[in-house]
Assembly symmetry: C2
Homo-oligomer: 593 residues x 2
């Protein structure tokens, strides 16, 4: 195929778009691959569509290779199945809801667990009908609060999602492994380096789950890697608790005056001034108690207090993931007004009454308020914490002696340098873009929608499921993000919109004729050629070639009178003079070799 | 590829689905190609998806071959562009509308004229950027009042839609011809016989327009064909008016008593009884005057009376197409109550006052009510019509002498045997399914959305557009409809989900081993094989093979002990014994030859 730039639907821009936050977005817009229609809604222009089609084909081939069967479930779906699974409510404002002409409720599917479950329930009745892996590649819809970065987080996007159905856990594990392999092969074929991280199952429920993250500044996911290669989403990191400590030498709880110290910084300063000790007091010696209002899936509200070392903040995403499907909001002043027992800025688990420490937080305590602590709060650790009176704190409050908690909640922020859970050294924090996600869903959806089959013994058993997703339209942006440079895009050959970009530099019949002749021969050899036949300066052509990012360019210009043309490599920006007679064979070798 | 039926996501049904109105729907459900999710919302199962993918690829190849450029505009779109083109209102309840989390208005696109127009406006500024043909293959949404027939009229369906952009009419004609050719080639490759009919432009506005109809009982479109091959949608048929008649011998209007004759049947009987003449009076001698309430695009209401021969009814679709974007409803009794001048059942254009015929219908008349007539009502024709009094009619009311009309409206039903507009003889009526539609849109959308480019002389000119659509998911059903028989589906090779269906009939190692060996050799040769390895009776396997409709089957059974296997042709239901040694070469020849 030969495509002429003069007739192609593309317009390159010299200026960065105003809303471009990340390099891939900027270059995809400037090079004419995508255009914005509305918030999180993008048109794929012909250049972008060519890249997309190639990625989709790779995904389809690798899914077919593991025996997955392609089908297609619509995006416009009735409310009922999502009502049963509770996701009609759970999705909140992220779900696009609409009514049809008869006022029946519909939604635009963000994902298809319910519908695939029902499809299998509809067609299968026996263990003999399983295992099954089904998939489709379709537009998905999420009404993101903050759509951003072009194709990276859109409100309409195209995803490949697969679902596996098995009678037993071994089957699920096998299907999970197959997808793991398929997604790894897809990433490899797309030239993407990825990190597989342990992930929380999030809104999907279920058990084992891994994400395929592509390390990038533009990423919205934070993950950690240990020196030994353990990698996890921050949501999934589980702190290894420190060893228990001997507290036999620790004196009783002391109440001390700490006027004007509702914050940790003020408190540490005051204690170091008034109660100096050999090792200075640090924020990590204090126990901060944060109060949240929790709303569970049924809408029931309760109060939760989280105790954690004063040098750590609660990580919102970790908290969200741990509490799901419940949601937590910080206590407001109005909320505090309703709980006089909680003295804002001076909350602690213990009150000293007649010289005795009495626990006042926790379900079994007088207040009855649920109290959980960070895993670092282990038996024998001693803390500086609030005395439940304004301007007063307590020293030497010992966990396991003076107070205990209703449970452990691992929601403090993870920091670069924290010890890795695998004990191999300090954790490294990085940002990444989620491109694939594999889940062992288990029986959650099958139970909710009553998907059962007869097993070998004629007994009805609930089917176990996996769900797997790969962001096909997002991959266009991710590959752009990882390969672009200061001049524009630089596609790997597997997904480049064209194999070769021919540029004529200079006027004259001979240059144009040579370009056409070489283009024809190369096209004949199966090379997909873009030829810049526009009546613009060589400078504009070179700049656009670098912007558009076809892996190889052939420049036909001044050298021609000496019998040479120039072959340029987009990624390395290197070039070589080649005799015009050997140009075709050199290029075939370069492009196809 | 070898696919095993025992592991394939398909379940054939022995019973017809309750809601199947047409053969294709019945067989596609029974053979496991599609499943219903909700009204007009269907899942494509793996068998259906394989057929769909093949059709999509044919469509893509032929569009690319005319230089059309594939891209993709989302389905979820903001309201504004459709507000400008007035289609936000015009589509009425057929448009799926929704709001996002910020309460902004969105829609699910039924078609993309506005968005492609804006995309070109965004990227193009000069005649040098044109001509352009752009297309995409995406889900479309229409909230049909009566979704029916499975994939034939769904609420979510996949369509290929193209848009052409040119500076002048010659360019538009060329783009139109290209699409005509591309769609003809697509139909040919899909093995579909089609009729190209003249069509009204319908809701799209614009001028020339043709439909590709596939003749089928299940079709919703009625079209006519003349002996000379002229074909048109009934909406597009234009009656050739008869010659004017000499009325010099006709006496003056007579008012006659016709008690109890509000209907044409009663009237004709009464007149033949009371006023017999040589040739009996017929319904065609009467002039029926039907009253409609018309609402125009701006919502303004008015009254319209249509006069037409009493033997014809108004064809609703023709009326709708002629009045568009206005809509007409028949007058109700309440409406009549507000217009005492209109005597229901006895309406006529003329009143006799003092022996003189005075016209009382028409914009210039006393009533001021707009009055239009069928094209058969020409100068000199004489009619029996209402006298505007209960139980009274008039004879010898002559058009051009006693009354005239405000215009001609060609909305009477077209009948089998009516004279063809091309004069070649009687028209034949048929029903068809619309699979493709090509439109010369002209400048309607470009004007509305202000798409202009600089022409050769540096002057801004409005771009002229074409729009073209092919129903890709509908094609699955149409091909099924045209090829199915009493036993099930019978796909043409180009779109069949598999090339070959291998059936083992009978037990024994040798049969199973031979089947596996042949399957492996055929797969190796590039044949896509479905092998029925289920542990069910040969009868069930044969019935399912006929239901599923792969073009060729290979039966390995009793003949094997004599060294033969059976090759069956699904379409003709014929079969041949073939020596097992030559089976592979025979099948390669059959499938690929």
């Amino acid at each position: 195929m030969i495509t002429r730039l003069s007739q192609y639907f593309v317009k390159t821009l010299r200026e960065d778009p105003a809303d471009a936050e990340v390099p891939s977005h900027k270059w995809l817009v400037r090079a004419g691959y995508v255009r914005r229609i509305g918030p999180g809604i993008y048109t794929m222009l012909p250049l972008g569509q060519k890249v997309y089609n190639k990625i989709e084909q790779v995904v389809r081939e690798e899914l077919n290779a593991i025996g997955a069967q392609e089908m297609r479930i619509p995006a416009l779906l009735p409310r009922e199945p999502f009502e049963i699974s509770n996701r009609w409510e759970e999705y909140g404002p992220t779900l696009f809801r609409l009514k049809d002409r008869k006022s029946a409720d519909y939604l635009l599917a963000p994902t298809h667990e319910e519908m695939f479950t029902l499809a299998v329930k509809d067609l299968c009745s026996s263990y003999k009908d399983l295992p099954l892996i089904l998939y489709h590649i379709t537009p998905k819809y999420r009404d993101e609060a903050r759509p951003r970065a072009g194709l990276l987080r859109g409100r309409e996007f195209i995803m490949e999602d697969s679902y596996s159905f098995d009678v037993d856990d071994e089957g699920l594990k096998a299907a999970y492994e197959k997808h793991r392999t398929a997604y790894m092969r897809i990433m490899d074929r797309l030239g993407l380096k990825y990190t597989m991280v342990q992930a929380m199952a999030g809104a999907m429920g279920g058990s084992r789950s891994e994400e395929f993250l592509i390390e990038a500044e533009a990423g919205e996911d934070t993950f950690v890697v240990s020196p030994a290669g353990f990698a996890a989403n921050v949501e999934a990191v589980r702190i290894t608790p420190p060893a228990e400590q001997d507290f036999s030498e620790v004196g009783p709880v002391q109440v001390v005056d700490t006027p004007g110290t509702p914050t940790i910084v003020d408190l540490v300063e005051r204690i170091n001034a008034d109660h100096p000790r050999e090792r200075a007091w640090e924020a990590a010696d204090t126990l901060k108690n944060l109060v949240f209002k929790v709303t569970d899936a049924e809408g029931k509200k309760s109060v939760l207090i989280v105790g954690l070392p004063g040098d750590r903040e609660v990580d919102e995403k970790r908290l969200e993931a741990q509490l799901e499907p419940a949601v937590a909001e910080p206590f407001t002043d109005e909320d505090f007004a309703q709980y006089p027992v909680l003295v804002k800025g001076y909350i602690g688990p213990v009150k000293v009454v007649d010289g005795q420490a009495v626990q006042i937080l926790g379900e079994e305590s007088e207040s009855g308020i649920r109290y959980v602590v960070d895993p670092r709060v282990v038996k024998g650790t001693r803390w500086v914490t609030g005395a439940n009176e304004v301007d007063k704190h307590q020293l030497d409050v010992v966990y396991g002696r003076d107070f205990t908690a209703d449970g452990v909640l691992d929601v403090a922020e993870v920091r670069d340098g924290d010890p890795a859970p695998d004990g191999s050294g300090p954790l490294k924090l990085a940002r990444g873009i989620e491109l694939g996600h594999i889940f062992q869903l288990g029986r959650k959806y099958a139970k909710a929608l009553d998907l059962k089959v007869l097993d070998r013994n004629g007994k009805l058993v609930t089917v176990t499921m996996g769900s797997y997703g790969f962001g096909v339209s997002r991959a266009v942006a991710v590959i752009a993000e990882k390969t672009c440079d200061a001049k524009g895009l630089a596609w790997p050959r597997t997904v480049a919109p064209f194999d070769l970009h021919i540029v004529t530099a200079g006027k004259g019949e001979e240059i144009a004729q040579t370009a056409e002749k070489l283009a024809a021969e190369l096209s004949e050899a199966g090379i997909d050629v873009l030829i810049d036949d526009r009546n613009v300066s060589p400078g504009v052509k070179f700049a656009d070639a670098e912007l558009i990012g076809i892996p190889t360019s052939l420049v036909i210009g001044r050298g021609l009178k000496n019998g040479t043309v120039e072959v340029k490599d987009r990624a390395s920006l290197s070039s070589a003079e080649v005799p015009v007679e050997t140009a075709v064979s050199v290029l075939i070798q370069t492009v196809k070799g």
